[in-house]
Amino acid sequence: MSILLDSDTRVLVQGATGAEARRLLPTMTDYGTRVVAGVSPGKGGESVGGVSVYGAVAEVLRDHEVDLSVLFVPARFVREAALEAIEAGVPTVHILAEGVPHHDACALLTRAAQMGTFVIGPNSQGMVSPGKAKLGGTGGEVPDLMFRPGPVGVVSRSGGMGAEICLFLTREGIGQSTYVALGGDLLIGSAFVEMLALFEQDPETRVVVMFGEPGTDREEEAARFIASGGFTKPVVAMIPGEFWETSPTPASVSHTGALIERGRGAPSGKKKILREAGVLIAERFSQVVPLVQQALGQD
């Protein structure tokens, strides 16, 4: 088992004829992802990597059932493309683009909430259920270097650190059930709580690793969810940036969500409330793997 994505998940690729999709789509299908169709406005009838391209999402849905649409669409067209998938009733929309305007992200997330659409991203690097399927850039051409099937769910606000954590787990022989990059933007769809709820239902997942960042209250929400019994398996969390709280010189970080505002979103507070909820905190990167090993042994 895995969450959100397995070898049976019927995937639609929006922005299928763009450069990003042309590069990455073959790596997805080679890995086992079941891509049923692509969409590019005005490019209906074309084909990319053996996948048929339609002009609109609604046209695809006349021929295929779709569980998830992954958007390779550039940031400036994300709002329109995501709303098209949401209005058409696609259950899960996965947005990869970095740099989506906040007003656009806000509008599409608001509509998704009304329609009950599950959104991952914007600015998600991708996701992978090792050995089954992968979406977006995650794993790229070297998926087996970073990922192998196993019992650990990994959720990260940073695509790079999620990949790095999976790499070190894999190097130690510890596989992953599903790894999801949530996206580093201020406004994103689902976050830790939604993923924990799914991992709770997944019998294969025995431990979850969360990589958080300064800013927002995604980690605090997760702590409250865990404390209230919403997630009952062991969790290991790493949240860097505590040095920032006392630094007179703010470091420049590329994630728009990584902003401590009005005292909210400080890593020290996040780690404290997570610890109180029973989460194992990795103060250093080198503690992540040993804590996962400990959690797997305990369980």
Partner: protein
């Protein structure tokens, strides 16, 4: 930085239907004196700098005569406000303020919506309000698809305790602010104070507009106003930061650079938002003193990397260089390394003595390994090296405690 100066902020708000005071921008005392004459003889003179808390810095002064205007303008022009030297002034007609109101609009990450913060008792800054008078700070989420309707704004100001004609005017002001927030893809607008004047009018006595840099492609006119005056948001750009800004500008379509110069002595060029932050924390833990932070978005950026590495190496007192990135999924690491290697070859340094530690993993790693081998003495790592391994190595070698 994404923050507009106050003159541009007020112009934008004024065009959006929010009453703003008359003002002029001046660069010397004589201009300020002339502005006073044109603005009715009583003015407030403020430093035009891209940071707040000017009042606390003494950079906001009242003048009621041309002599006073000259003297105050001269005093403020000599100042530095929170590290920004004052080169321009904004001279505003003085307002007879009866009551101060606070209003801001920004995005709320937890609720995923625009959030209006409103207090019928403004004048103090938001940190002070939320810390000492959270009960007086009203949080009002807005459905972005519905927008802010007149009746919503009236309800909001009613909740905050305003009534009658004042409530009507303030509600209109809040609606105007929300209109500007949406029309110009703002990240944040703050009007503090939104002033009720003695004659009953409601005016934005001060305003800040922060734009969403991710939406500037829709607003080329506003992008032109941002310039480099805002520095990195808390101080003006240093010479090295300006140089990196120019390097970034050689190709706006490839690999956007984010760079800060710090006080330390280790060139820190570790890319990736989360990876860079984790590595910076590890470096500080090991006692390393970072001289820079550096990030570059993926792309074909060999030339930018070459120039960026050369720029960092030029920083006086630098003792070593750490170049690293998280394991790459798709972007070929040899492109980055090719630029690094060219820069290192061009530098007149002995890398047995000046430590350069490089770690990349992912596609292109074999080619990258070969390229690095062309520069004797450079320490190369791949996927086996963890964040802390690298921090320990650069600290040991740069600060001379390395025994190996």
């Amino acid at each position: 930085m994404s923050r507009l100066l106050e003159n541009d902020s007020l112009t934008l708000l004024g065009e959006g239907g929010l009453p703003v005071p008359r003002f002029e921008v001046c660069t010397d005392a004589e201009e300020a004196a002339r502005a006073l004459e044109r603005l009715g003889g009583r003015v407030v003179i403020k430093a035009l700098v891209p940071v707040g808390k000017r009042g606390k810095a003494g950079a906001v002064k009242f003048a009621a005569s041309v002599d006073e205007a000259r003297a105050q303008a001269d005093a403020i022009l000599g100042m530095e406000v929170r590290r920004f030297p004052v080169k321009k002034l904004i001279v505003m007609e003085a307002l007879d303020i009866a009551r101060e109101i606070f209003c801001s609009i920004s995005f709320d990450a937890p609720r995923k919506c625009p959030l209006i913060l409103f207090s019928a008792e403004g004048g103090v800054d938001i940190e002070e309000l939320s810390e000492h008078h959270p009960d007086k700070l009203l949080e009002w989420p807005v459905d972005i698809l519905e927008g802010l309707k007149d009746k919503d704004a009236l309800e909001l100001v009613g909740h905050a305790g305003l009534t009658g004609e004042l409530a009507d005017q303030v509600a209109r002001a809040v609606c105007a602010m929300y209109g500007v927030f949406c029309a110009h893809d703002c990240e944040m607008i703050e009007v503090n104070p939104l002033a009720e004047l003695a004659d009953g009018r409601v005016v934005a006595a001060a305003g800040v507009v922060q734009l969403d840099v991710q939406a500037l492609f829709r607003h080329p006119d506003l992008e032109a106003k941002l310039g480099v005056e805002g520095g990195n948001g808390w101080r003006p750009f240093t010479e090295l930061e300006m140089r990196m800004h120019d390097i970034d500008a050689i190709d706006p379509h490839v690999g956007a650079i984010r760079f800060s110069e710090l006080d330390g002595d280790i060139g820190f060029m570790v890319t990736g938002g989360g990876y860079g932050l984790s590595s910076l924390e590890a470096l500080l833990d090991e006692g390393g003193k970072p001289a820079t932070t550096f990030d570059i978005t993926p792309g074909r950026y060999e030339e930018k990397m070459r120039r960026a590495v050369k720029a960092v190496l030029s920083k006086p007192g630098i003792k070593g260089l750490l170049l690293a990135g998280n394991v790459s999924n798709f972007t070929r690491v040899d492109i980055k390394v090719a630029g690094v290697v060219r820069a290192l070859k061009e530098a007149d340094l002995d890398f047995e003595k000046f430590p350069v530690i490089v770690r990349y993993a992912g596609p292109g790693v074999e080619e990258a390994r070969k390229l690095i081998a062309e520069v004797p003495g450079v320490e190369w790592h791949e996927d086996e090296a963890s964040i802390e391994d690298l921090a320990k190595r650069i600290v040991a070698r740069a600060y001379g405690s390395d025994e190996s």
